[in-house]
Symmetry: C2
Subunit: 333 residues, 2 copies
């Protein structure tokens, strides 16, 4: 294993220190319990949006803290859920008096710890709502999940909810945006290589020289099947077919598309996949109205990518277009 | 080799097609000869800024086309210089009547082909100036270079010159900004793994399980030496020491810092390096006034990173802060 780290046990903490100094205009890092919050938190009167989960998926979540997106992010250790005290501390710190939305990827540990934190904060008089993200069509249950896993839709929901909250919508309305986003989004991932968790020191799984794993999870959880490597065109057709067929998306739909790199896949390749996705969607009468291409929810140094499509009405597109200013997503501000 | 491509000979062209559709609001792609230009080019009366070079370094250069940065980018095949006809076509297409600056990374093929294109355009009556970027302190001459290689300072020079041109400065003044940026910038890279060029199908070089290559080039050209893998802290001290000692940077200087991923290095690790760089600079009385952390000039799927420091006066910092709106760099607009 070759990593640009000092000590596997300190990697998350040291990375957050670098993040804090690199983006001091946008965010602050608090330690023990550890969370990242907007530099201007709490924003009085605004519904707050908090997310979190295991580290190793950067820029998710801390890279999305800032005006128009998250008020706070709770980073666990690598591929490890944040603790209830981290989540509760973040929730208290960003509550602007009108309540806090928890956006929770559907992994058993995350769900449990966000629930415990919400109960704790509610017992103190805070308003907390939680929405689960479970957009991965690959598998029903998985290594760390009952039901579907939460993947790329998390990024989209964080943006949409952040915009809704910035517009002044109340907690219930922001939560409704989260449910709408998750309900209209579907994803699938593919690995060309394993990731290597620093503390483990070796690849999480093995893939043959000409193999790919379809439906991979963002922690390297098993997908649907191993297949011989195929050209990008066929891979995207296969994955987009599964994603489109699941909701199902229909002729005339307009969507927000995320072509997401898993960490080690060059942007050159992601744009090839993006071009193929456009072709597949156009062929089915589906219009990609907005798109992101790049590393947005990664799996350390895994090679591979995922596709997320979110069926968006004009209201969601409007929220998407609202200004956002975070380390990893920024426009209009 | 596992790549998300269809055909190695078509990878650049297909990737550009994906880029074009993903960023239709910002840019256009022209084929045969191939270049990428601002959607609103030519901008009448504005000095134009054109760069280019081999592909495989994405988002460099095409990801920096847009208001406040490049007017056009000329992508060659992977790790292959663009041809004079590509460069000449781009130059003609974006000339707004007041001339075109060529920002050229110092590689023999790039230098030659940009020169030929400039001569051709000048013979047609266009004003063209060229500035070489040669910021890499690692080696004096290299596999594809006489003198020092052009690396991370290219990104910074493209931003600064784009801002100068957007302010309405004339060609000579924009070229002076480029020379100032290059003259004040120094860089060094490090590889933890080789990249694999699709057409070659195998890694460009071999590195042992516990080895790193200090001073690596962005095409995998040999660096200064191979060393046993060290903690991030020691690696950054070593590299920053070489960079700081070269100009030399001095106590009281303020700098723009780029902590750049080579393609396969997780953002989590880059932020660790960024934190270490802050510590090293602070210890020497050097203030990092602005910073970028992420994949800005890559080497396909190489694991590793590079550091670039640019000594910036208030004028350069002002240009840095000006709005920019491109696929890969965006703020204030």
């Amino acid at each position: 294993m070759k990593k640009l780290i000092n000590d596997a046990t300190q990697a998350v903490r040291e990375s957050l220190a670098g993040l804090a100094v690199a983006h001091a205009d946008l965010l602050r890092v608090r330690l023990d319990p550890t969370f990242v919050l907007r530099a201007d938190a709490p924003v009085r009167g605004k519904a707050a949006v908090v997310s979190g989960g295991g580290s190793g998926h950067e820029p998710l979540h801390a890279g999305y803290v800032g005006p128009g997106m998250l008020d706070a992010a709770c980073p666990g250790e690598i591929f490890t859920s944040p603790t209830p005290d981290q989540i509760a501390a973040a929730t208290r710190a960003v509550d602007g008096g009108t309540g806090v939305l928890h956006l929770v990827k559907n992994y058993t540990g995350d769900v449990l710890n966000f629930e415990l934190a919400a109960e704790l904060c509610q017992s103190e008089g805070l308003k907390v709502e939680a929405v689960l993200i479970d957009d991965d069509v690959a598998v029903k249950d998985s290594l760390y999940t009952a039901g579907r896993r939460g993947v790329g839709a998390t990024v989209l929901a964080e943006k949409l909810c952040g915009a809704a909250a910035a517009r002044g919508l109340g907690l219930a309305e922001v939560a409704a945006v989260a449910r709408a986003a998750n309900g209209q989004a579907r994803s699938m991932g593919l690995a060309l290589s394993s990731c290597t968790v620093p503390a483990a020191g070796k690849p999480t799984f093995a893939l043959g020289d000409q193999e790919m794993e379809l439906g991979i999870g963002i922690h390297g959880e098993p997908g649907r099947q191993r297949l011989p490597l195929r050209p990008a065109r066929e891979i995207v057709e296969l994955m987009a077919g599964e994603v489109l067929g699941d909701l199902p998306f229909r002729r005339g739909d307009q969507v927000i598309a995320l072509v997401n790199g898993m960490g080690a896949t060059p942007l050159l390749e992601l744009y090839i996949a993006a071009g193929e996705l456009e072709r597949v969607c156009a062929g089915r009468g589906i219009r990609i109205a907005r798109r992101l291409v790049g590393n947005y929810i990664t799996s350390l140094d895994m090679a591979g990518f995922s596709l997320t499509l979110l069926r968006a009405d004009e209201r969601l597109l409007g929220l998407w277009d609202d200004p956002v200013r975070t380390p990893a997503l920024r426009w209009g501000a």
